[in-house]
Symmetry: C2
Subunit: 273 residues, 2 copies
């Protein structure tokens, strides 16, 4: 049996479940943690509200590696950029209340804005949030997103680019969340994982799989073993750095969301290695 | 009016047309060239046969920047690897007959095979074909494919990785075909284009656009102007190297294939800049 105490599940993996159902079922199945998406928390996104969410999570005994997701910093309009910074500060406060170790950043991109300008705005946005992160005691983790999301979701698409922001800002509350889905293809992955380990910036590790073929760009991820990613190999690289965090199962899949979630969670547990 | 003599169109862009229709219409519209996919040539793929294809192409007065597509070198079975090499040699002969300057390589990938092993097999496969390329007077161009194709189509996903193969093999019949669709997001793009220019390896330049959102991983490319790629900026980088080849319009699009191809070609012409 895999040691599920080493694993957390992202609430979005079981999208049909609310936070209560996620926490109950994850704890009962033996998982060590839950990574919480804001839609099951914030009332303005249909969640139970922060106070109730805190009660549920604390009662579950689960660790909370991550609160998901902040970011989306670049914008043509300076007021929108400030609004993004303010929103990220709010997320940091919510994360602190939930006992989450980090807020994951999907950094953003704006169609038509040159990527280097977007990257500059991302760095500025993160810099503006870091004092708040330190005060809240919650870290910010840049999640490089697959290059197929460079048009509108993330102008940071490889570990190397995330590292460059970390090196520029030099803050112990800033790091990287590595998701195998986004980075598995990168020839520099092994080197970058080692560097992140040495620099103390490897804050999160997300697992799922790349399906062949992929039928939808957003909601057709595979569960570990469904696809072609050498997850065991990447996990070994990650653990070799001394990373002791939970591996977070993050799967967006219309196919799996349409199935019985209790049975699906059993399958998830089997696929954790 | 754009100077269409600087542009070629890939036959697959007008998938409903046969080679005769492509060449007639491209020449009549004022395009400088046609890049020929093997499916409109080879009888075993439904084409008109090589002799007839040669007659059509020569009669059209069009240049032929590229014959598409060779590659697919990696395989678990050595016999399959040899078969791929033999097939690529055949493509080189066909390209020579058609007067094509290069055979474009989609290098291949094998689900489950580590990408570094696949990359090694690609380099070995290309090396085995280069004497034949020199004898045929046709170049081989590695086309880095977008990382979303790393699972099963190409283990070479950035200009940098294509350059590394070129540097390792050092052959004036080997270079790179840059397609904006695959490489636009890469922060190293400008540097790599400059390097390819200096190394004399920039053999082909393909244009299309990245749609937001992309509805299918293979057949939902945009026509120039439909998406978010700074094509003018990349073209400027390419031309700044001294590249004098044709810009090749290569669009796979179910949406456009379903429209009247004559009207579509007018639109293509308008979008060439």
């Amino acid at each position: 049996m895999p040691n599920l105490q080493n694993h957390a599940v992202h609430t979005f993996t079981n999208k049909p479940w609310n936070l209560q159902q996620c926490c109950e079922n994850y704890a009962q199945a033996g998982f060590g943690g839950v990574s919480i998406w804001r839609n099951v928390v914030a009332q303005d996104e249909g969640g139970v509200g922060l106070d109730e969410a805190v009660k549920i999570v604390k009662g579950s005994g689960l660790q909370v590696p991550a609160y998901v997701r902040g970011g989306f910093f670049p914008a043509g309009d300076p007021d929108k950029r400030q609004a993004a910074i303010d929103h990220n500060k709010k997320l940091l406060d919510e994360a602190a209340a939930l006992g989450a170790g980090q807020v994951v950043l999907v950094v953003g991109a704006v169609p038509g804005m040159p990527l280097d300008e977007a990257r500059k705005q991302v760095q500025d946005g993160i810099a503006a949030c870091l004092p708040h992160a330190r005060a809240a005691g919650v870290k910010l983790s840049i999640e490089p997103l697959h290059p197929m999301y460079a048009g509108d979701k993330s102008c940071i698409n490889r570990m190397a680019e995330a590292r460059q922001v970390c090196e520029a800002l030099q803050d112990d509350h800033l790091g990287i969340a590595l998701d195998v889905y986004h980075c598995w293809w990168d020839p520099d992955l092994e080197v970058e994982i080692r560097l992140a380990g040495e620099q103390g910036t490897l804050l999160g590790y997300h697992v799922c799989d790349w399906r062949l073929e992929t039928r939808h760009m957003l909601t057709d991820r595979g569960l570990m073993g469904d696809g072609c990613i050498d997850i065991a190999g990447i996990t070994q690289m990650v653990r070799a750095t001394g990373f002791t965090g939970l591996a977070e199962v993050e799967v967006f899949s219309e196919q799996y969301w349409a199935t019985d979630q209790t049975e699906y969670l059993k399958l998830i547990a089997q696929r954790c290695v």
